[in-house]
Symmetry: C2
Subunit: 228 residues, 2 copies
Amino acid sequence: MELSLQIKMNEKLFLRNPEETELGREIILNSIFLIHKAGFESFTFKKLALKIGTTEAGIYRYFENKHRLLVYIVSWYWSWLEYKVMVHTNNLKSPELKLKKIIQILATDVKDDVQTKHVDELLLHEIVRMEGAKAYLTRHVTEDNKQRIFKPYKDLCGAIAVIILECNPKYKYPRSLSSTIIEVAHYQNFFMKNLPSLTDFGKIKDDWKVIGFLEDLVFASLFPATRK
Amino acid sequence: MELSLQIKMNEKLFLRNPEETELGREIILNSIFLIHKAGFESFTFKKLALKIGTTEAGIYRYFENKHRLLVYIVSWYWSWLEYKVMVHTNNLKSPELKLKKIIQILATDVKDDVQTKHVDELLLHEIVRMEGAKAYLTRHVTEDNKQRIFKPYKDLCGAIAVIILECNPKYKYPRSLSSTIIEVAHYQNFFMKNLPSLTDFGKIKDDWKVIGFLEDLVFASLFPATRK
DNA sequence: TTTACAAAGATAGTAATACTATTAAATAAA
DNA sequence: TTTATTTAATAGTATTACTATCTTTGTAAA
């Protein structure tokens, strides 16, 4: 039996569903490639069009603008990651083990185990680390949010919060801790690689250092010393 | 006696020192105003020039491009904040109290106590919360970093790390915890106001909620329960 | 007092970006 | 077959992010 993961995306994110046509799938595949290669700022629809042999207008038929395309691929990533987290944790008994596994998934590079056809998850993971915050760091967050385009991120955050509460039902900040784990995993890794003096991991560049820090942080908070 | 805070900025950040001329000071003042009002993406040198009655070329004599100007004002903020942290903590005895004070300073809105002439620190604080990460989330971080333009951020991070070690000399991640405090303070506040379901603070929008979360997180990590 | 020289202002120009509009070709429904 | 409708191709525009050049003005050393 052949399984293939199909992620249903929010329809507000696109003008035409890119998963349904060859050109659409090329747009996703190559935008990931180009953004990964040169960064979101230097990414343009013109360059993308050139790369896949279509025109700018061709791409505008699928996406309103390049920010929406970024939100699309970032959201896709969060959905994919939630699925991946589910797959890797539901055979684990204790919530502590689940949480450790989640931290590990968030903080290490992707080994391409949950396969999809037209998306390179490894590149996408690196894109999200560097460009992910730009999806919501805009003046139009509020309107974007009303269109529910950040739902995948929130869903992942909610799913982790549930496990946090299983670890300690009395813990007061499950959602904030959850979003903190996600964000810290990404930017400590970014700092480690690019601004190492903001971390304690020097030039070692070992994902497991970030994992160590995060586990320390999270489990100390969930199982605190009995001081007032 | 009149005191005025003069912050020496890295000379790589500008072509001509904006603090030294009237036009330069107008550039800083009004770029803060405009970026605060409409966001960094929609900010252009043309709009800025129009606002202060000069031309684009006039501004290009001071800053190479708008990203450098962003880094300039963000760096200025970090330097200012390090000074402010110093002022507010050196009368405190215990490092725990110092750390609490620092968290408070980072997570609350600025009350304009450490005065400067041509910078509105309140606006600047809000800019850094939303746009600060864009200073380093670029493809040219590495080259930028070689020019030491992120030094103020690192210095602040270093200063907090020292206090963290005073709290617990055995703590293994002083720098990562330090950068985490800074980042979490900003984006939990951003989430609280813009994407509240990523936090536990609902629509309450109370800075003290973020402070509570951060204190819990930090002190649990620094004084953990004795489990291995 | 002249010279000089740096800062600011004015004007123009360019390549690239982020789009929009129009028209033509292909395909599907009636 | 005719007629819609979708899809593609071409062209065009306003704005952005610059660069270049030339003139004026204040200021300060010779």
